[in-house]
């Protein structure tokens, strides 16, 4: 059953009241970025209109307030993912920067020629290219866990690749195309037994389900604020404290040092050593507001709701003639990639837009996955807490309209 009360939350998101081409906006592109509730918008406005100052430097009142808000945001995020201490939360620009930070700051330091980095063909480019490049720099090799026919990672397939030489296993928790949920805890156990560390791309999972880093078994977890009702330009790298301590900074400059003379410098403690330069303070404050908002709604509820929408949409589209859907039928997260026979995804998205329906079309920054699927690109509908059954009706209707338009 759909959680009707959840859908009432639509009114918390001012943009959802905006008509598009005379239609109600049906926003089905939350995997790209989510819309923002008024409380998040207000938090940024309040920061800039009441507390704005740089952090960690000055002693004046505004600076104290800004610093407190910034560090409180770190605590809020730490609690949200079950970090053992707030210092384990490094603020970045987003998932991409977080993953690059691990590749530069950790992998470059510890990988040796012949070591192996294990990834999968379903990775977003941001969890693939940093590893390709780290492998080039260090002489390590990249290995791929092959997918089963519907696009899932089985433990058997993981076991076939993870072994003595594995140093890093870097996987997405939830695919941004297939809607696959990967068995991270089991794979992490396997990786740890082999002496490897586990890097999880949580861009599509942290916004949608309760996350506890200890239960997940991750050593690093990357995610983006803008995919969880927060602002753009703020994201998180969570890492186990000892691993963050061992990692090198990658961005040198102000606020990340301890002592500097003409020739040398020593680093500040974790996390400041990774946060060179003035951080996105208002972004962190906005992200904390987003986390509080999601917590108030309840992550369990959000998870049930978006999974329910993803699975319903899978079944409805699967039953349509001339439509292909990708990924597993169950469980299927709130991300659904599909194609309409003989209509290119761009054209699908254009017809959708004329009906007020926002979807994504393209390769979704996952070209190796498109190659695996044997398609150039796909359309993708993705759901969040503000979507409803009705939106699936509109999706189905929009597909019918698309077929009619291009088959006349």
């Amino acid at each position: 059953m759909m959680d009707v009360a959840l859908v009432d939350l639509k009114k918390d998101f001012p943009i959802l009241a905006r008509p598009i081409h005379g239609h109600r906006l049906v926003y089905l592109d939350s995997a790209a970025t989510t819309q923002k509730p008024q409380v998040v918008i207000d938090a940024e406005v309040d920061f800039y209109s009441q507390h704005n100052a740089n952090v960690l430097r000055s002693v004046h009142t505004l600076a104290e307030e800004a610093t407190t808000l910034f560090q409180n945001a770190r605590q809020t995020v730490a609690r949200f993912v079950g970090a053992s201490r707030p210092e384990e939360i490094v603020f970045t620009r987003g998932t991409t920067e977080s993953l690059n930070l691990v590749a530069r700051g950790f992998a470059d330091k510890f990988l040796k020629p012949g070591d192996e980095i294990v990834v999968s063909p379903m990775e977003h480019h941001s969890n693939l290219i940093p590893w390709q490049q780290a492998a080039r720099r260090t002489g390590a090799n990249l290995r791929f866990i092959e997918l089963d026919p519907v696009g899932q990672i089985t433990l058997e397939a993981a076991r076939a690749v993870i072994g003595d030489k594995t140093r890093i296993v870097a996987l997405s928790h939830v695919s941004n195309v297939l809607g696959t949920v990967n068995p991270i805890p089991e794979i992490a156990e396997m990786a740890h037994a082999a002496g490897a560390i586990v890097v999880v791309d949580g861009a599509q999972s942290v916004p949608h389900q309760p996350i506890n880093v200890a239960q997940l078994g991750a050593d690093f977890l990357a995610f983006s604020g803008h995919k969880m009702c927060g602002p753009t330009g703020i994201g998180v790298l969570w890492g186990r404290y000892p691993l963050l301590e061992e990692s090198d900074p990658v961005m040198y400059g102000g606020e990340m040092i301890s002592f500097v003379d003409r020739e040398t410098a020593t680093w500040a403690d974790v996390p400041e050593k990774f946060e060179g330069g003035t951080p996105n303070i208002a972004g962190a404050v906005g992200l904390a507001a987003a986390v509080r908002y999601l917590d108030d709604v309840g992550m369990e509820r959000i998870h049930r709701h978006t999974t329910n929408l993803g699975e319903q949409a899978f079944d409805r589209l699967h039953a349509m003639s001339g439509v292909s859907v990708y990924g597993p039928q169950r469980p299927h997260s709130g991300v659904l990639a599909f194609n309409v026979d003989q209509v290119h995804p761009h054209d699908v998205a254009q017809v959708f837009d004329s009906l007020g329906v926002a979807i994504r079309a393209g390769h979704h920054c996952a070209q190796p996955l498109m190659q695996w699927l044997g398609v150039g690109s796909t359309a993708r509908a993705s759901f969040y807490l503000y979507n409803s059954d009705q939106d699936i009706d509109v999706l189905v209707h929009a597909i019918e309209e698309t077929k009619r338009y291009f088959r006349r």
Binding site: H346, D347, V351, S354, G362, H363, M370, G376, Y405, F406
Partner: protein
């Protein structure tokens, strides 16, 4: 918004019944181009005889706009001198950005509606960029 402003009959026709689709046996020039934002790709085979585009074929995959545009372009330039063909490709690009009047564009004029959709202009000009690459000796060859 009226979708028909963009998807004119001529465009849908070229998309469904592409002209000059395929490959040439021994093309004088062959150029492939990728639209990295959407992964669409187009390859052009051009046969030049005595400075004339005596034959041309396109292949690849993409949306209706990029495929129709490629099909229309091949029709517009076939039989023209290399200079004329190049001028058509360039005229089309500035026509789409609204800076010039169309000249010898033939069916390509039907793509005018695309100029209202900035994200689709790249689709409409992919084949034209490929042709420029093939014919302009001053451009780096791939």
């Amino acid at each position: 918004m009226n979708l028909d402003d963009m998807y004119r009959e001529t465009i849908l026709d070229h998309n469904q019944n592409p002209r000059n689709r395929g490959h040439l046996e021994n093309p004088t020039k062959s150029v492939g181009l990728l639209n990295p934002t959407c992964g669409d790709e187009i390859a052009l085979d051009v046969q030049l005889d005595a400075g004339k585009v005596s034959d041309i074929r396109f292949s690849g995959q993409g949306c209706s706009i990029s495929m129709a545009s490629a099909s229309m372009l091949t029709e517009a330039v076939k039989g023209k001198s290399a200079e004329e063909a190049l001028a058509i490709a360039r005229n089309f690009k500035s026509f789409l950005t609204g800076t010039t009047e169309p000249e010898n564009l033939g069916d390509l004029e039907a793509l005018h509606g695309v100029s209202q959709f900035p994200s689709r202009v790249k689709c409409a000009t992919l084949a034209h960029n490929a042709l420029e690459k093939a014919l302009d000796d001053n451009q780096p060859q791939t």
